[in-house]
């Protein structure tokens, strides 16, 4: 079986967001780009499954819709252990556009399991995985916290409010990955980095597709008023303020 992991190329999570002077764009000067944290977990799990010889996963590919600034991130995914990277060469206009592009690729190049993250840490859409499943007309498992493959059966845990569901299904399907799917994201080792140079990074042309939305402007949050400090021996005062000033108790 083949697994495809969707990779969103995002600013490092410690990045301080800056805007251009007209507030129309994010100022990306000096930004470090990383694999979106959930995608990194999804990729790690996919590689773990491939390494475990008791199942039938034999190939793990990664895909990104983006311009060539994503290449370094895709190389990192190869260094972590993906066999092949695909970059669909287009500006990721909105989630609909991204999902439509990936769906078009998967129609031509079928995969048994497609994994996406629960959201990208930049535009917080939580949409691409679900949209992909609709484009591909197959089931999507949201909030997936465990993924095991037993022969042709897939066993999945999914977080639901106040508990979890245990599901069984057959491919193809889309798994939308939540934390828990694996313990730690894998980091590239020296050997992996060397090997990654020889692995294929295929650039494919985008298909004709309209986006449905676009961002017109950004805004930064207002600075928070300063914190009111209460002495550790005056906790009655804290409770009083929470009741009468903040009105949250």
């Amino acid at each position: 079986m083949k697994i495809l992991v969707c990779i969103s190329n995002v600013p490092d999570t410690t990045t301080k967001v800056k805007l251009t002077d007209d507030n129309k764009q994010i100022d990306n000067a000096g930004v470090q780009w990383i694999i979106n944290p959930w995608d990194e977990l999804a990729l790690t799990r996919a590689i773990e499954l491939k390494e475990d010889s008791s199942n039938t996963i034999d190939e793990v590919c990664v895909v990104n819709v983006g311009l060539n600034q994503s290449d370094a991130t895709l190389r990192k995914a190869l260094a972590i252990g993906a066999d092949k990277a695909i970059r669909i060469d287009a500006e990721p206009l909105d989630a609909y556009f991204v999902a439509g592009q990936i769906a078009a690729y998967v129609k031509e190049n079928p995969f048994d399991i497609v994994l996406s993250g629960i959201e990208s840490s930049d535009y917080n859409g939580s949409s691409v995985g679900g949209m992909l499943s609709e484009f591909m007309d197959c089931p999507a498992i949201s909030s997936m916290t465990k993924l095991d493959v037993e022969n042709e059966n897939i066993i999945i845990h999914r977080a639901i409010p106040g508990g979890k569901q245990i599901l069984e299904l057959k491919p193809p399907f889309i798994g939308i990955v939540q934390k828990g799917i694996t313990n730690e994201p894998r980091i590239p080792a020296m050997r992996g980095i060397m090997m990654a140079r020889k692995k294929p990074l295929e650039v494919v042309a985008a298909v004709e597709l309209d986006s449905l939305s676009h961002i017109v402007e950004f805004e930064l949050p207002k600075a928070k008023a300063s914190c009111q400090m209460i002495a550790a021996d005056q906790l009655e005062e804290l409770v009083h303020l929470l009741k009468s000033e903040a009105k949250v108790l």
């Binding site: 994010i26 609909y96 917080n124 949201s142 569901q165 805004e219 949250v248």
Partner: protein, 321 residues
């Protein structure tokens, strides 16, 4: 032209977030001079549906089919799209919770309707339709313009509020056409945690971090949480080390929550942690280190050892009840 909101039920009951959703839908419909339609899927009593009318539902469309008591994003998106097409609605609104997040992207593709996820406010402009949402996990906001004719929004919790607006109860039953083979994922079992407060629903959240030092030290956190009727949460290293379950992890890579009151106890306030809690209405930080970054985003701060502060605080609240 009308506005349709999808009112999800939990075992036949609605939650406060549903009332907020209906209030928001009513507000949007008034701005657009159109009707507010509310769609309920699965078995729900009339008395429960009546509650939705209190927030301004002109018509409640009920798809009362027991096969639909279990949520499937695929089937629900199909049912909602049939209703949208039948009513000729232009706006679909869902709550930004697990089910809204799962259904809305499918619906977007089905209806070719642009989706703005986790919106925070009423639209900035109606034509073109521009609306505010959080991006970069709350480090910035974006104004998104939806260009398609039909539009889908998911509403962030606690971003609009609940507004009463009583309307006459008007229920219409609808029977969707569903192919049998759509019901095909096999659910082997469902495990429910005990009846603890669900983090996403909680008005008060008591959250603790590595400053608690060890899993055995959580009793004071549990005690404060229980006296407040709150949910418990934790920082990422705490769940990574297995001191607490993953379902409690909040932050950039965990749950994003927006309670009225958030206690950050022994949590340093790393940017990735703050990303999950910065929409809390009020933040109280308790930390031994007066320089901890958490104080720069907190409303109230106490410098002190959690192991002594928490029992005292719990006692004061308990005796004040």
């Amino acid at each position: 032209m009308s506005v349709i909101a999808f009112a999800k039920n939990w075992e036949g009951k609605f939650k406060k977030s549903t009332y907020e959703l209906v209030s928001y839908a009513k507000d949007l419909a008034s701005r657009l001079n159109t009707q507010t339609l509310i769609l309920s899927i699965g078995e729900v009593d009339e008395s429960e549906l009546n509650k939705l009318a209190q927030y301004g539902a002109d018509k409640i469309i009920s798809v009362d089919d027991s096969r639909l008591n279990i949520l499937s994003s695929r089937i629900y998106a199909e049912v909602i799209s049939q209703v949208v097409n039948k009513e000729g609605a232009s706006y679909v609104i869902l709550s930004d919770n697990n089910s809204g997040k799962a259904i809305s992207p499918r619906l977007s593709v089905k209806l070719k309707a642009g989706l703005a996820a986790a919106v925070l406010d009423v639209p900035k402009s109606l034509d073109p339709f521009i609306i505010k949402k959080r991006v970069f996990s709350g480090k910035a906001f974006a104004y998104v313009q939806i260009d398609s004719e039909k539009k889908i929004l998911t509403l962030s919790k606690n971003s609009f509020g609940i507004v009463e607006n009583p309307a006459v109860l008007n229920i219409e039953r609808f029977t969707p056409e569903l192919a049998d083979d759509i019901f095909k994922i096999k659910v082997n079992s469902v495990e429910k945690a005990d009846d603890k407060m669900i983090l996403a629903d909680a008005d008060i959240v008591v959250s603790a971090g590595r400053g608690m030092k060890a899993a055995e030290n959580w009793q004071p956190v549990e005690d404060l949480s229980s006296v407040l009727g709150a949910a418990t949460a934790c920082s990422r290293p705490v769940s990574d080390d297995g001191w607490r379950g993953h379902e409690e992890h909040v932050g950039q890579t965990g749950k994003v929550i927006a309670p009225n009151l958030y206690f950050a106890i022994g949590i340093s306030g790393a940017i990735q942690h703050v990303a999950g809690i910065n929409r809390s209405k009020c933040i109280v930080a308790i930390n031994t280190d007066p320089e901890a970054p958490i104080f720069s985003i907190a409303d109230y701060g106490v410098v002190g050892d959690a192991m002594t502060v928490l029992p005292k605080l719990t006692e004061i609240i308990r005796s004040g009840e």
